[in-house]
Each structure stands twice: as C-alpha cells, then as structure tokens.
Symmetry: C4
Subunit: 119 residues, 4 copies
C-alpha cells in the first residue's frame, strides 16, 4: 500500500547548535531523526550551512525501507564533525522521508528540550 509519495525528499532545519555535553550522566546532544516509511531504501545527503564559511555536503548513508534512524550531530558524519556554533541543515533522501530534530540541553542542572519537525 506504501508508495514513494510518502514524506518528501528535501527538508530544512535553520537552527542547529550543538550543546555542551556537560559532566552529568545524561549528555547534551542534538539528534536528527529520519523516518523512511517507503518500501525502498533512502540514500541520505546532508548539507551543513554555516554563518561565515562554505556549506559542506555529506554522505549520511542510508535509512533502510520502513525503518527509523537517529543521527547524532555531535558525532562525525562522513568523517566530518560539525563544530560548535550556529549551523543549519538540508537533508535530502532519494525517496520520501520525514525528519525531526531534537536538542537536549544540560547546561543547567535540569535538562531542557527543543524540537521541531523540519520544513
């Protein structure tokens, strides 16, 4: 019943900003979560935008058909570590996907959450 029309192929996240991991048991981080509800694997390409340098295009591997995958932006992607500071993302799939970003901030004693569906 699935078709390749589920989701869409291009997503944007303007406000990326990797938080300090902190010293506690729970580490501050950002997660990009990608759902591929289609019956064909999605090859993922990420473009990372900055405030003052050229954008970087990364091969982020695949999200298998009918699976969800969580990519930590505080860990290297395609051997590239996104630096601290403001960044933005374009996320593209070769088939339709749905993407959401979440940030867990532990800069103060209690965690704070920040999430949005992509555009």
């Amino acid at each position: 019943m699935n078709t390749l029309e589920l989701g869409k192929k291009v997503w944007f996240f303007p406000d990326g900003d990797i938080p300090d991991p902190g010293d506690g048991e729970m580490k501050g981080h950002e997660s990009l979560v990608i759902l591929n509800p289609n019956n064909q694997d999605a090859q993922i390409t990420m473009t990372v935008y900055f405030t003052d340098r050229d954008a970087v295009v990364l091969n982020a591997g695949i999200v298998t058909a009918e699976k969800v995958r969580c990519i930590r932006t505080n860990e290297p992607i395609d051997e590239f570590q996104i630096p601290f500071g403001q960044y933005a993302l374009k996320v593209e799939g070769t088939v339709g996907i749905i993407t959401q970003i979440g940030r867990m901030d532990v800069a103060q004693p209690n965690l704070a959450y920040y999430t949005t569906m992509g555009y």
Copy 2:
C-alpha cells in the same frame, strides 16, 4: 458545515522515545493526541517503525466524530507495548484527523516538555 476535508488522513512522527516513568508523582510519558473535527467517526491505524526490526501495524480503535482522544504510547495499544528506545509512528484515519505528540520527561528533578505537530 464540517466536511470530510478537515485535517488529513496520514500523519508521521519520526522521533518517538518513551521516557522513564520515574519515581515521582508525575510520571514520564508520551501522549499521542488525535482530534477528529469531522462529523463521522475515524478508525485509527498506527504503524510503529523501529531502527532494526520490522514495523508493526496496530488497530488503535476509533476517535468519535467531533471528539479528541489521547493515546498513551507507554501503555499497550492493540495488545502491543512499544518498547523503550527509538521508534517512529505513522497514524492513519479513515476520515481526516489532526495529530500532535507530546513527551513529559522527569529524568531530572524538573520536568521537560517536547512536542510537535505531526507531518
């Protein structure tokens, strides 16, 4: 004045992750909230996606015409308990619906909220 065109029939939530309920009076949980603004009942089907196993299709009952219903994802749905860890959802109605997910996290002394409208 309502027509079956209000809302839409398919919704996606990439980032599901049931929080630890904790020991306090307020229990950590996730809620999927479904509004049916139409004048006909909506039969709800949920597809749960995982990172490394096959998706599961659940009969989530109905949302009566012109009512709202809250489904706790930390409780069994169609006799299936979504396990801890990353999951994603597709929510389908036989008539148009509007869906939103919310997570209340009590892993640290103060609660944190995380919400998004579905896509």
Copy 3:
C-alpha cells in the same frame, strides 16, 4: 501590498490541557496567540472539543487588522471557562490568520514550555 491571502482561515490544535496555575509569582497557563497580518479585521470563532462531551462553539471577538492578540485559555471566553483536562481547538477567522499555542507549566519548581504552530 497585503492581501486577504496571508495566513489561512482554519487552524487546529489537538493537544490542549490547562496547567495548574500553582502558587508562585509566575502562573501556569496556556495562551493562544493569533496574528492578523491582513488589512481587514478578523472575526474569531473557536470550537472547543472534548473527550466525552459535545463540542462548544465560542465567539472569541476580533483580531484587528495588522495586530496580534493573546487569548488566555485559562480565562473565560464568550462567558465559557474551558475546564481542566484534555481539550482541542479549532480556530477560525473571517480573514486569514496565523495561530500558535503555548503552555507554561509550573507544576515543578522550574517552568517548562510547550509550544506548536497550529495546523
């Protein structure tokens, strides 16, 4: 340069739940914020949906042309007080509007925020 095409005339919020106001200086509350970017006043109608009783239709007054207005859902609207517990909203304008809901929760010592743009 504005036309009546800015924004849209019907918005939905599935997850409404008025928080306990608490005893502190900052009171827990929910706010429905409506922007009318058009050059004509918008007459606002709200439909409140419940889990187990009939929906209620309220006259929520106007949002003047090119103004923003904040409606507290914990205060009476059209002489009706939304009760505690799960509810949902349909918000309609006679001209295009843009709507967002926000909840400030003070059930624990530190506030938590919960917001989403309407659908």
Copy 4:
C-alpha cells in the same frame, strides 16, 4: 542544482515575547534564525506587529547565499528595539528562505526552551 524555489519568501511567527535577560551567565533571549539555501543573496524585511500600536517595517539586511544567520530580537534591528511584551513577526526574503524562532527563558533557576518553525 539549487533553484530559487527552495524555501519560501514569506514567514509568520505569532508568538514573540522577549524574555527577561536575568542575572546569570546565560542570558534569556529570543533568536530568529534564517537559512538561505539558494545561490543568490536574500534581502530580509521584517514587519513587527503589536497588540495596540501600528506595525513597524524594518530592513533586516541580507542573508548571504547558502548561509545561515541568527538575528537576536533583544538587540536593535534597523535601529529599532522591539519592546518587552507580546509581538508577532512577518519575515520576508527576496529569495526563498527557511526561518525558525527560539526563546531561552531563564526566569527561573533552570532554562526553558520554546521553539517553532515559522508558518
């Protein structure tokens, strides 16, 4: 491969409310983050709406092609300081952009976050 069709040219944020900066190391603030994924610079115009006074139109400068830019709403824009209290924004680009707003509130000992993609 980029075209001027990426993103869109008009965005709205109904719920703006600059938080108290507070006395701590982390200052309460709101940030409007604008991504320009196109290969041509975007000239940005912001319209600030209020509850009881005329809207103000500001020249917010440019977002260079394929860059992201963060604009603090608690600092002057086009020599205009948005006052405390409810406000709303229209953000326009001469080419397609994607915009998100975020608020960091430190009114209580731990920060709280509030974010949404624009409409």
